[in-house]
Point group: C2
Chain length 208, copies 2
DNA sequence: GTCTATACTTAGATAGAC
DNA sequence: GTCTATCTAAGTATAGAC
């Protein structure tokens, strides 16, 4: 069926596999399913990627590569001085929005015990820490909260919003909560976190 | 091997299965593994629970039942008026600490697309919402943040701390962050969230 | 209630023709 | 490079003795 073009074939396989791995996890996906979705045969997949394991690694590699090519765009605002916390929340929020399959594949992996950082992740966290420490030095945010706690608080607020989405929608449907939009949520947590991190005296910051 | 006591046998099976489901997920666990860990035979497991599916449902049921029996203890502080947000953070934090297998099994399920609320979860969320709305009415916390956003912010901060633990430890190990203790994290996020939710004027609350 | 033996199904992977 | 046919291993589940 395919154009007898190795590179194109590999791309097709990777694309189908990434979708399926995101949906059902690595263990929950069979080579046959990847074959079906890509319109190719199982043995051809193994021909190009040696084993299922190899296919998984290739998918992760492809995601990381794509992500790194994109990093300049998403994370570059290193200059943004005063509003670093807002920038960080926004970037995390946008990241989850823009990379759903990567997030889901990472989630499957983490549950399965894979705690190793992905691709350029370390670099980003070092940048987070450095920027937060710098903001603390400049008294732009409180210095009695550790950078790790700030990062976790922000990551958590964003993670839950996107990853518990269906679950929270159930609660909304049952009348436990009133729904709010993505933008409203982003604004509201930004406001809470920003005010919660504002230094004690004087520095009342203007509200958005 | 077992004492030919059906109830005791079921308990053993459920216990082994719960551990394994938490570790590896439902799909990632085989009946043979449950048999091995419980010291019983595969067919005996199927005799008592009909199918693997039946075993999974039974494990979930057992967890929910245990949880509900415990709810009075963990979540009862309905009286705690002023400090509701603190109470809520503490309860969530303690819950993750005390119920690791339940949390992991719920995580596997959610990733696999099971968004239905568990057991008495709805009740708890209705209580959250009601308590938050009441606190807003009393002007104890800001009323421009939706209860859903507050719940998500708190759940997220707690979720990430326990569920990204190994992952964050990797970042600490690589020098991206300085480590902090569970208690320090709990104190710090409580402080940030509490201050972030404090009403605008006058009501400067005393710090812990 | 519990086990051993085994049937049936599906997964990953290989052989070999084209 | 790609497919069909097939092997082998592993999973769920059943049969039937004890």
């Amino acid at each position: 069926m395919a154009a007898r073009d190795g590179e194109e074939t590999k791309r097709r396989i990777l694309s189908a596999a990434e979708e399926l791995f995101a949906e059902k996890g690595f263990d929950g996906t069979t080579i046959r399913e990847v074959a079906e979705r890509s319109g190719l045969s199982g043995p051809l997949i193994l021909f190009h990627f040696q084993s299922k394991e190899g296919l998984c690694e290739a998918v992760k590699d492809a995601i990381v590569r794509r992500w790194q090519a994109d990093l300049g765009g998403t994370f570059v605002p290193k200059g943004a001085a005063g509003a670093f916390v807002e920038t960080m929340i926004e970037a995390a929020f946008a990241f989850y929005h823009d990379n759903p399959t990567m997030v889901r594949i990472a989630n499957w992996g983490r549950l399965a015990g894979d705690d190793a950082p992905w691709g350029g992740e370390e670099e980003i966290h070092r940048w987070y820490r450095a920027s937060l420490v710098e903001a603390q030095r400049r008294q732009e945010i409180r210095d009695d909260i550790s950078p790790l706690a700030i990062t976790a608080l922000i990551s958590g607020a964003v993670h839950v919003w996107w990853e518990f989405r269906g679950h929270m929608e159930e609660h909304v449907r049952q009348g436990s909560y009133d729904p709010i939009s993505d933008d409203a949520y982003l604004d509201q947590i930004t406001s809470v976190i920003r005010r919660g991190l504002a230094p004690r005296e004087g520095s009342e910051e203007k509200e958005a």
